[in-house]
């Protein structure tokens, strides 16, 4: 658990799916090592222990929506454990539940998404993607394996510069790529035929909550009449609604803005006087909310749905929790 927390803190582990899987696997370990203290029931004690772990993780880095949903799933499973089970049986049930969750909701869901999304890629396409989403990367590599001829435009932004890692992985596999930064999006959008974006979560009013800058990409694509496809597993959907990006967001390290890696000539903000520091605020937002009118279709493991159908899945999905 400590290791996972430190990984979040250091930023080694990023991306909704990766963080969620790491967290669940850490929970599995914790459950295996757990033993009920005397005079306490398994369910209550385990739930409070899990709560303790979650607070530790939140201190390292605020939870992503996917992690929040996974924790709710786990707590509901713990609460539903029949009281007749022995401790070891309960532990194995829980661990297998977690395995099933990871398998069904993430791994298999991704495979279904790949299949759906690949049908939307034709020969001669120019696909644009922003930042580094694991699902979009999988889609591009899968389509490339299927033999489709297309080009990829990777758009990146400071300070995370995640696109560079994606770029490297794509070029190694032989995809023809163009790399640019977010400001140049109006310049490249003329040639783009489809935009593929990942999401951290999708809210019930169809708003896509994703890496900061996604909203700008979707907006410019919409202005140039380029279809925007958001690829997101259904377990990330949430019943919240949100209209703008300010009400609920995560703040990153402000100093990351003033530093530009590898470019000594632009370090203008070193050596500020106190008076200057007093008036200057550095704001590093991590997420933003893309309005649903910019999204053409959401590709999920339940199929390809319009943004307006998200609350339908959220409602049906909650029932599924109970049926498992």
């Amino acid at each position: 658990m400590n290791r996972v927390g430190l990984q979040y803190l250091a930023g080694d582990l990023s991306g909704g799916n990766a963080r969620c899987i790491a967290m669940l696997q850490a929970f599995q370990e914790a459950i295996r090592d757990y033993s009920t203290p005397p005079e306490k029931t398994l369910t209550r004690d385990l739930t409070s222990k899990i709560g303790g772990f979650v607070s530790f993780l939140i201190e390292c880095r605020p939870l992503s929506m996917s992690m929040g949903n996974a924790i709710r799933f786990l707590k509901s499973r713990i609460a539903r454990l029949p009281l007749t089970l022995s401790e070891s049986e309960a532990k194995t049930t829980l661990c297998s539940d977690i395995d099933r969750f990871i398998n069904e909701k993430i791994v298999l869901a991704d495979k279904v998404i790949l299949r759906h999304a690949a049908t939307k890629i034709r020969d001669g396409d120019v696909l644009l993607t922003y930042g580094s989403s694991c699902v979009v990367e999988m889609i591009l590599l899968y389509a490339h394996e299927l033999g489709k001829q297309f080009r990829v435009v990777v758009v990146d932004s400071h300070p995370m510069l995640e696109g560079q890692k994606l770029l490297r992985r794509l070029v190694v596999k032989g995809l023809s790529c163009t790399y640019t930064q977010l400001n140049a999006i109006s310049y490249v959008m003329h040639k783009v035929t489809r935009v593929f974006l990942g999401a951290s979560s999708i809210f019930s009013n169809g708003t896509v909550y994703s890496t900061v800058g996604t909203a700008s990409v979707a907006m410019v694509a919409h202005a140039f009449r380029v279809p925007v496809l958001v690829c997101c597993e259904a377990y990330k959907f949430h019943e919240r609604v949100q209209l703008d990006s300010i009400c609920f967001n995560e703040l990153g390290d402000p100093d990351a803005i003033s530093k530009v890696p590898g470019r000594v000539d632009v370090n203008y903000l070193d050596n500020l006087t106190d008076k200057q520091k007093e008036n200057l605020e550095l704001l590093n937002l991590k997420y933003d909310a893309t309005p649903s009118d910019y999204i053409s279709v959401i590709v999920t493991d339940y199929g390809m749905i319009p943004p307006t159908s998200v609350p339908v899945i959220v409602r049906g999905y909650r029932k599924e929790y109970l049926l498992i």
Partner: protein
């Protein structure tokens, strides 16, 4: 002339190597160079204006070719040509008014001014021919340069007339050059003071407790905001950093030094923050005749976000940035691509550059444009040194500053009929 040639070559070099930063500096230096060219031009007895125009055009074409993306150069060249034409016209009308008083009645050529016997017909004919008129269909088809026609007429004048006319013309030629140089000095003065005139209007637009958003760095915007601060308006500024040059960092540093509350945000956060912003104020590289703006890269994205959230998008531009050309495919033709090393470190990505497909073409392209085109419908207001204008009005300002003949500067090649 050799002196000017050296100056011209030196300036051409600077333009080609992109050594001059900013359109104001470029415009000023272009105007000063053209002033030297004008003062060095040898003036013939007749048709001085054509000679001036010819020499300015010759230099101007070369300057524009050195840096076609820096539109301020072409703007200043066309302004100077317009000045020459205007000064010539005003001198001619003054001269013609003066001729009304002198009553010489030698009728050499039969012109169509028989009903004014008091005027010297030859003088009038010569004056009206030497005035530069807008191209008529006849002149366009004949392609006859103006200077060929006139000496013939003046030589047919009588002696006494000839003497008075030549005395007239030499004083006129000195006067023309003098007037033109004075007007060019005024132009240089205007270019230098445009930021102050724009900044004076700041108080009308920025109110108390407003939130302003800007991207990158523009000296005009800096002075505009500081002028509002001087008038005791307190407001916040969000500065988007403007990757990959990160000039927003510079602007933020300047603003906090002058005591303004500033927040530095990333470009990706512009859409997120713009809902809390009252106004977007940006500078421009050039303003085209349709009201479209050639602006630093990223501003089209900001303009679209501003339109979505109904936030006014205000562009500050000095009048030397107003270009009389209409933009055609501006993202490509009026853009410059900078070095990819600003985006990717060559050393880090050298392994990626090795992967090639069978034909040996590289798999990795890096695109780093300098400018963005913002269409006129996204701009709410232009603030220039002459006041605030709608984008739909900008084409009218062109008539004030430029002549229709100068829009195409390339000389017509002699057509063999």
């Amino acid at each position: 002339m050799p002196d000017t040639q050296a100056l011209v070559n030196d300036f051409l070099n600077k333009l080609k190597k992109r050594k001059i930063e900013g359109s104001q500096a470029t415009a000023k230096q272009t105007a000063e160079l053209l002033r030297s060219v004008i003062s060095q031009t040898r003036m013939p007895y007749t048709n001085q204006a054509s000679a001036l125009i010819h020499s300015v055009k010759a230099v101007g074409e070369r300057l524009i070719a050195a840096n076609p993306v820096e539109l301020a150069v072409g703007n200043v060249v066309r302004r100077v040509l317009h000045i020459i034409r205007e000064e010539d016209l005003s001198l001619t009308t003054a001269a013609m008014a003066g001729l009304n008083l002198s009553a010489e009645s030698d009728d050499e050529d039969d012109t169509d001014r028989d009903n004014h016997p008091a005027l010297s017909a030859a003088a009038i004919a010569a004056a009206s021919r030497s005035t530069l008129r807008p191209p008529s269909l006849q002149t366009l088809l004949e392609d006859v340069p103006d200077s060929a026609a006139v000496p013939h007429t003046s030589s047919s004048g009588g002696d006494s007339e000839g003497k008075s006319k030549s005395a007239d013309k030499s004083s006129r030629s000195r006067k023309l050059k003098h007037d033109v140089i004075e007007a060019v000095n005024e132009l240089i003065q205007d270019i230098s003071t445009c930021r102050e005139l724009i900044a004076e209007q700041a108080v009308e637009h920025i109110h108390q407790n407003e939130v302003i958003l800007t991207l990158g760095s523009s000296r005009t915007v800096l002075e505009f905001l500081c002028a509002a601060k001087e008038k005791k308006r307190s407001f916040r500024v969000f500065v988007a950093e403007g990757a990959p040059r990160y000039q927003g960092h510079l602007l933020a540093k300047e603003l906090v030094t002058r005591g303004l509350q500033t927040t530095l945000i990333t470009d990706s956060a512009v859409f997120a923050m713009i809902s809390r912003v009252n106004m977007v104020i940006v500078g421009a590289h050039a303003v085209m005749a349709n009201g479209g703006v050639i602006a630093p890269v990223g501003l089209n994205m900001v303009a679209l976000a501003a339109q979505k959230h109904a936030v006014p998008f205000v562009v500050l531009a000095g009048s030397h940035k107003l270009c009389p050309l209409y933009p055609h495919h501006p993202e490509v033709l009026l853009n410059e691509l900078r070095s990819p090393s600003e985006l990717l470190d060559f050393g880090e990505f050298s392994d990626c550059l090795d992967f090639g497909s069978g034909i040996g073409a590289p798999l990795l392209h890096v695109v780093n444009p300098t400018f963005d085109y913002v269409p006129p419908k996204l701009v709410s207001l232009f603030i220039t040194d002459t006041g605030g204008h709608n984008p739909s009005y900008m084409y009218r300002l062109i008539a004030d500053y430029y002549s229709a003949d100068d829009l195409v500067l390339e000389r017509r090649t002699a057509s063999g009929n």
